[in-house]
Symmetry: C2
Subunit: 194 residues, 2 copies
Amino acid sequence: MAFDGILKNIARHADLTAGEQDLFCSVLQVKNLKKKELLFKPGKICQQEAYINKGCLRTFFCDKNGAQNTFYFGIEDWWISDLLSRTFKVPSQYHVEAIEDAQVFLINDEDLENLMMRIPKLEHFYRKLFQYSVATFEQRLLEAHQLSAEERYRKFRDKYPEFDRRIPQKHIASYLGMTPEFFNTIRSKVLKAH
Amino acid sequence: MAFDGILKNIARHADLTAGEQDLFCSVLQVKNLKKKELLFKPGKICQQEAYINKGCLRTFFCDKNGAQNTFYFGIEDWWISDLLSRTFKVPSQYHVEAIEDAQVFLINDEDLENLMMRIPKLEHFYRKLFQYSVATFEQRLLEAHQLSAEERYRKFRDKYPEFDRRIPQKHIASYLGMTPEFFNTIRSKVLKAH
DNA sequence: AAAGAAACTTAAGGTATATTTAGAAATGGG
DNA sequence: CCCATTTCTAAATATACCTTAAGTTTCTTT
């Protein structure tokens, strides 16, 4: 069935009944994206949470010089949204773009809040999901401060070998907080070391 | 009453009945800390969430060179914990230390999970709390990548004037990801600009 | 109040990373 | 399949930030 993946993802922390599963799936909206197409655009308040069923996406924003700053990737079975905008109800500053052709399932913020009220297990799930996210961001922030550019890349490679394969260098460079040129010299060096 | 502050904090997102409030308060453990005393130590799995009723604390860890790396501050009405350790059940790497004499209210992870099952509104509260945290960390990570040291300090000052007043420079320097010496030159420059 | 410890200040020299430029390789559209 | 565009590689120069070190002020303890 089409929604197998997302239901299995939720089942990690919440044991929904068949009826609850149906209810949940009934609010999902399927969206297909071509490579380079935008899922979310800056300017308005982000109203949706997205589950990636297929493909690869990235979140980035443009700084005052117009340069793109990527800070989030997502592939199959990941969740992606603009929590900053959704949480504080401020206009989004982010672009969410497909790096490969992709399929996502969207849930409106309002539907999600309603569902969580009706199904406490679902609120439990998202509480856990966000708790994990905080822990992960904390880790990333630490690494950004503590590690050299080369060390950051080595960790990234170990942790997300798939990202390293599927995502263009310039985006990885930005994600790791360095220029594409410098990233390239580091990468060549790391590859040679094998 | 002693628990006014924490109950008011929770009331921002969860409207607990008097009975639920009592139940919640019954699992709280009060702990007073002297300046420099540790609330959490590295080595074991963190089992508690803490609400700061009074005083100022910081979270830091020691890197391979033994240098302290501060990445989190908290004052009155803030929550503090080691989510990385608590969430993934891995030994903590963090010290949580009182910067000033402090009083915190502790909740055991197990009690908290039980309470959240019994009182869905409480799970709602922590879901919101963590959702805010993710958004905040996201913002910090962006600023760490995008902004120069001076810009980072200016933002910090604007956002947390109280931290700037109460916390020693070396800790702020570490939080902002720079050396105390460099921070000092920046700070003098920023102060002169007024 | 004195002595010691910790925190802050200032400056010189050094290093990791950024910027710029340029060309080569890969990719994609017609 | 070819041309246009994007991505990658490479090297030279520039700079933000670090390291070290020494002096000064502030805090802490007795």
